[in-house]
Amino acid sequence: MTAAAKAFPFPTVEKTLPNGLRVFVVPYDSPGIVAYYSIVRTGSRNEVEPGKSGFAHFFEHMMFRGTPKYPTEKYNKEIKAMGADSNAFTSDDMTVYHILAGTSSLPTIVTIEADRFQHLAYAEPEFQKEARAVLGEYNKGASDPLQKMVEVLYDKAFQTHTYKHTTLGFLRDIENMPNEFAYSRQFFDRYYRPDNVLLLVVGDVTAQQVMPLIEKHYGGWKTGPMRPEVPVEPPQKQEARASVPWQGASLPMLLIGFHAPACSTTDIDGVALQVLAELVFAERSPLFRRLVLDEQKVEHIDGAWERHVDPNLFTILARIKESKDLAYVEKAIYQEIARIAAEGTSEDTLAEVVSHTRYALAGQLSTADKVALVGAEFLALHGELSSIDDTFALLSKVTVNDVKRVASKYFNPDNRTVVILEPEAQ
């Protein structure tokens, strides 16, 4: 694969409807199969009102609760008749609905998806039942100490921005969800609008097939009210630390977050942090070799900068074999980042990181569904499929000096939050 090769090598047809709905069609060699993604540019980041954390995710559940024309049972029957894989997910910045089915089902898919995005209707009793399924979703992860550690990390690290809560939301808010029926209608009215949603259709289709269907079924969708601003997070002033009590068995764990920049196709700091994460935490890194292979104090370690709409965290996770080594491992991580800040890395190693990242993406783009999944993330964050190529072009421009600079700029003690899990039943 040459450096000049496009990271996202598929031809794309894009169209914007008069109501602002943007549609992207990517013909892909997946005989007889189409992936249909509806991307709402709203996630837990948009839960600005107190007491409403977790609502974007809850609302994702409610979208399966029917319309006057397609009540739940009828909607489910249509999905079943298609033999479709249909589901949805919510993250900090987006809610994505996806259907994977035979291409012959495309007219039905467009019909039922356009219908629920415009005419969702549910009564309070089923709203309440679904609220309890959401609590069940929280509870299924509650035996994993990492769920609790992540909650604590973001709660401690953010003061005003909505990244303070996880996508599932604060447990107290989840428990209260059955009482928020009226707010749920407001949420739909506010965010499920054509100027806040993108459609991505990937697979054995052409734009000529797709566009007229979309225009017919989504053309009457109206834009909605102004959406509230998301508060800006002030700079962190001092290190925050917390420990999570855990009565059951577990390896001790260390979770660290440093405030880091938002995703961008022009500001190089984010992708430079992505490179840094590879240099410090990849399995072939000196730190991994030292802590995991040679000293055998750590069972698993990783670190990542992930793309977000607003500045989020560079996170580091280590699962450590014995509690006595928690402080040692934490110090070793900081030392290694400081070493990179001082010494940088070789040009060859940097080139290998870029090669690794490009091949990793090429490996991901192996089915219509996976192409759509990658496309959906970039569309939700940047609003353009071309942002994939732009991001990888930016990545190719990262220099050793960029890596040194971000290693010293973002990893100072005042900018970090540390959460420790030291199980009681050791």
Binding site: N76, A101, A133, G136, K140, P178, G248, A368
Partner: protein
């Protein structure tokens, strides 16, 4: 259509490899010349069922030494260094009867990746350092992670110890604490020599590879011994009379539930295919249309999901589809209920059994049969979307002698409700069900269930419809064949010791 091509491309090649006097390994090819990616799958028909008694975990530790240890030529770090620029990973997993090494790589990097992979399998370093690390990782995986970090996985593993009492399938693939503690590096070396042999190996290659690649690659494995220790016949799972309940007591917000019973059917059998329809009707994995999902989650808000299976199901990453290459010589029927509120645990167990019994007693409703059949006819196409998964299914077809995807596509159009009902009646029963609950208030629950006391659902939501309330009354007192002598209450720390 792709699926039948997949099988046609795989099976004749496998026969050709053996009939021409080549090594007894099988080679399966699945060309896709336009793809920039190539997948290699090495499937060894070696699994935790091959663990010698007292050495539980030996097969998995040996398998891990191959792909997570170094090679004679390279340390672990050097292996990782070589893999890194091509973003290639040797993905390995295992079960009772197989271990799999799989990797997908851009064709630019195929030669280098193939060299590394064959080096890993053929010339493992077997260093003391790797052995110490990987054995400790396995022990931690059982004593720390499985016991303390995931109640649902804990329930599923505990269920297998009940389904397969005193049986080679009856311990976790990772092993037991005592088994792992007893192992030495020499045990690993011996096990490797005796079990990682050509007769147990299937080499699969799919994607945009050069035509000569599969044979040239497979030829590397001719250095393995041709024949290894013969596979021991599996005993029949122990017959039980009545229901058994294992309650794993721990603090929890939600109680995880798994239940199941061995069945004498695999993909090799005719009855398997109508049973797939029955299980899909009851609860296709991670879909919203199953009877259990509709009645437990949608109508009652009990939990996040409820599913049914007629063979071991391991989910492939974040997809909703099964991981290929987890074939078993013996299978079981399983129901998985995602965590439910502790106060409604008894109700949830009764409801799952109530719905299953209804299916067994009344058969699949005609409309449900037609809808499920139509669903599966399309849905199975999604199980083999990429080259790696297509190859996995072609290898499974070689193992079972039947390609599950091609069989379903061929059989579903002519399958009848009667076929499904007969298969259900012949092979499914809840009379001797094994049930595992992991969570809170389980002691009190066990007492109520053995005494035949009602276990009503606790609602904190408005306006449950009258017909649901009426059904609740039936379910909360639904009789279970459970006696006090068939109840075991343990703490998580007691599980998987030996």
């Amino acid at each position: 259509m792709l699926l039948s091509i997949a099988f046609a491309a795989g099976a004749p090649s496998a026969q050709a490899a053996t009939s021409q006097g080549l090594p007894p390994m099988r080679v399966i090819r699945l060309p896709s010349p336009h793809s920039p990616l190539v997948t290699i799958r090495l499937v060894f028909q070696v699994g935790s069922a091959d663990d010698p008694t007292g050495c539980e975990g030996l097969a998995a530790l040996t398998a891990a030494m191959l792909d997570e240890g170094g090679t004679v030529k390279r340390t672990r770090t050097e292996v990782l260094d070589a893999l890194y620029p091509m973003a290639a990973e040797i993905h390995s997993y295992g079960d009772r009867d197989t271990f799999v090494y799989a990797g997908t790589v851009h064709r630019d990097n195929l030669a280098a990746f193939a060299t590394l992979l064959s080096e890993q399998i053929l010339t493992p370093r077997f260093s003391v350092e790797d052995f110490t690390r990987l054995r400790q990782d396995a022990l931690d995986a059982i004593t720390k992670t499985l016991r303390g970090n995931d109640d649902e996985d804990l329930g599923k593993e505990a269920l297998e110890t009940m389904l397969y009492r005193q049986h080679p399938y009856g311990h976790p693939v990772a092993g037991t604490v005592a088994g792992l503690a007893s192992l030495t590096l020499n045990d690993v070396k011996r096990f490797y020599a005796d079990h990682f042999t050509q007769d147990r190996l299937i080499v699969g290659v799919s994607g945009g590879y050069p035509e000569a690649f599969p044979d040239a690659f497979a030829a590397h494995f001719a250095v393995l011994p041709a024949l290894g220790t013969p596979r021991a016949e599996l005993p029949a799972p122990q017959a039980r009379q009545g229901m058994d309940l294992l309650a794993v007591e721990k603090e929890s917000l939600g109680n995880a539930i798994s239940m199941g019973v061995p069945i004498d059917v695999t993909r090799a059998d005719e009855a398997f295919y109508p049973l797939v329809v029955a299980a899909s009707y009851l609860g296709e994995h991670r879909t919203f249309n199953g009877v259990l999902m509709l009645s437990m989650r949608q109508k009652r808000g009990l939990n996040y999901g409820d599913y049914a299976y007629v063979e071991k199901f391991l989910q492939d990453g974040w997809t909703t589809f099964p991981l290929p290459n987890v074939p078993r010589r013996q299978q079981h029927f399983e129901i998985w209920l995602r965590p439910v509120p502790p106060a409604s645990t008894g109700f949830a167990i009764r409801e799952a059994i109530f719905e299953t019994d209804k299916l067994i007693r009344e058969g699949i409703p005609a409309a449900g049969f037609e809808a499920t059949r139509a669903f599966l006819l399309n849905y199975v196409d999604l199980w083999a979307q990429d080259g790696s998964r297509r190859l996995g299914y072609a290898i499974d077809a070689a193992i079972y002698g039947k390609d599950v995807l091609a069989e379903l596509k061929a059989r579903l159009p002519t399958m009848t409700k009667k076929d499904v009902d007969e298969a259900i009646r012949a092979h499914l029963s809840t009379a001797n069900l094994n049930v595992v609950v992991v969570g809170a208030k389980v002691r009190e629950l066990a007492g109520k269930l053995t005494a035949g006391q009602p276990t009503p659902i606790v609602y904190d939501t408005k306006e449950t419809p009258a017909d649901v309330r009426q059904e609740d009354k039936l379910i909360e007192s639904y009789p279970l064949p459970l006696s006090a002598s068939h109840i075991k209450i343990l703490s998580a720390s007691n599980l998987f010791e030996k």
